[in-house]
Symmetry: C2
Amino acid sequence: MVYINDHFLQLQTSYLFSDINRKVTAFRKENPDARIIRMGIGDVSRPLTPAVITALHQAVEEMGNADTFRGYGPEQGYEFLIERIIQHDYKSRGIELDLDEVFVNDGAKSDLGNIGDILSQNNRVAITDPVYPVYIDTNVMSGRSGTFCDGQWSDIIYLPCERDNHFVPKLPDVCPDVIYLCYPNNPTGTTLTRTELKQWVDYARNHGSLILFDSAYEAYITESEVPHSIYEIQGAKEVAIEFRSFSKTAGFTGLRCGYTVIPKALKARTKGGQEVALNPLWNRRQCTKFNGTPYIVQRAAEAVYSEQGEKETLETIKYYLTNASIVRKGLEEAGLEAYGGVNAPYIWLKTPEGMDSWKMFDRLLHECHIVCTPGVGFGPSGEGFLRLTAFGRREDTEEAIERIVRWNI
Amino acid sequence: MVYINDHFLQLQTSYLFSDINRKVTAFRKENPDARIIRMGIGDVSRPLTPAVITALHQAVEEMGNADTFRGYGPEQGYEFLIERIIQHDYKSRGIELDLDEVFVNDGAKSDLGNIGDILSQNNRVAITDPVYPVYIDTNVMSGRSGTFCDGQWSDIIYLPCERDNHFVPKLPDVCPDVIYLCYPNNPTGTTLTRTELKQWVDYARNHGSLILFDSAYEAYITESEVPHSIYEIQGAKEVAIEFRSFSKTAGFTGLRCGYTVIPKALKARTKGGQEVALNPLWNRRQCTKFNGTPYIVQRAAEAVYSEQGEKETLETIKYYLTNASIVRKGLEEAGLEAYGGVNAPYIWLKTPEGMDSWKMFDRLLHECHIVCTPGVGFGPSGEGFLRLTAFGRREDTEEAIERIVRWNI
């Protein structure tokens, strides 16, 4: 008799986006002429840049010719791409990595979920709050969450990121084995400085914890005190895995490419207490359960690092960051309190005193015809906030902000 | 203190392909002028067909234009592809499927491995022998294998596929919860008839077992009594998941696309005995831990089903099947005993009486300058066999067979 993994039945259904859609649909029905501007989407809107498109066409041609056709590639990714990643994203910042410390994948989400395969089910997990739901749900699936009660999981250590702590999580009292950090952060758009991140690296070193560092928004960093990689912090190679993605960097949300860094110095323990390197375990996992990223997609990612590709990519990032700046300044001009948007494509808007996330969502929709994401959808500490994104078109972003500035909240 | 998943340390290292490479390298050093023909590779050699290349270029163009750019797609795959799959691969054979019963992925290997996520760790697993190593290794990783002793895993039920049973596995005495079947088979190249497969479906229905049906070589079926899908067998929707791939069908080994069918009628049990449908569990798993297949790759897969694409794909399959036929007939002409190659790109060659797989491998390399894969590398029941593949170039295949026919074994 075949049995399921019962932990799947513990998963909570998120009604966040369906609730948003339901409300927007109802509003549209009552107000067919309203021009709704969507500032809730977490997807990019700018197309792939010409350098990437050219690389794709070239790689496609290779695949149509018997002499240049590529079949199975290495599950870890092609060296031509890994070399560029190391050179551009690490060596340029004084970080040395070997080729076999970088694993190319189809985007950060898969690896952030699958990394649990190589870790014991008994590890205690700490997660910042508010948070990207994948961190929690994948741990529920593997039985690390305990039971759900009053909006929280009993075995998860929550690390609140609130106005009062400037969205910098406090070191926990109960020691976690695995710590998820995402900086620049989704959804708050805030960052950690080098000094703040060093506290976490030191904590992990002192307690034998593992940091899973989600760095999907690294390309948006503009301030010099914000580290681009956790490995800028001394000793981080011994405690951290870094997850990066081309999705928000180069508009690859539909093309799918990212990478994960697992330094060979990073170790964990067996039940018996023996130290074991994680790198070969992940390598075995990927060779057994992953097919590798398509050759043509890896050529596209390589093109992001070409002189022309880099220039074009920076232009796109600048476009979104200018949107972010327009949003942040506009909100403040309207007398509202907002965070993020300086090193991230997300702005975290505080609701006026006493108004909850959904109430403010409803008012923004009905009075300004703007759709955003209620912060409470990202976790309990998100209550009283809204997430606005900078991925829209410039003219829409400007108009949305004009509406908010004129708005009598 | 962070702990690893200790099951990873149980994994056996396969030296199969490194041993082959070591032997070939040594031979090449001693015989620099020998023209070695490789018949061991499981990768295709023909490039993507023109219809696929055209579709890729078109989709790439779309991705470079703001009006047609596609960001995040549905994790389950685009409907335009799922509709084609259902129409072409199922409806045409009288099998009805809903759109949400098909999950597009990046190739069969990932899903064959990840499917374990939604199943209890305590399920007892049965695996045919010889076998594609991924089935075993992924179960070792999730703790379903027991301990390794004398070349076998204590908790795995082995289903020997040998000459004596015509490579048709016998129904097991100990009842498995999960049964892996791969037909047409890798590595033996043999098949099950509709009647033989029905026995397994009936067995699974009677015992509440789940069949994981790997059908990656379906496109090579030529004989009418061989089913193209397990769902041709009545009642299979209640007991089977089917895994398909464009890799060997349309040369997608470097492009990466496949799909998994999980009928909504398929149920398993909770620890408490309650029946639960597997389809929504897998959907949740994919939405949380998979990013979806690149849009451009899904357009390429769609083109395989176009009139022109289908014609071109059939030509490629015919090319490989002609190779297979040349190999099979040539081996028999040389007085050797061979199986497979009729409904599959693999030929399973019996070594002459008393010769083991590696001895025969060495002789083929040294005396005929041909590289193949020793059958014992696929499991204990592979001893005394070699796997030859039909994916080479026609002229190489013909020359290899001429050498074997002339060979004084």
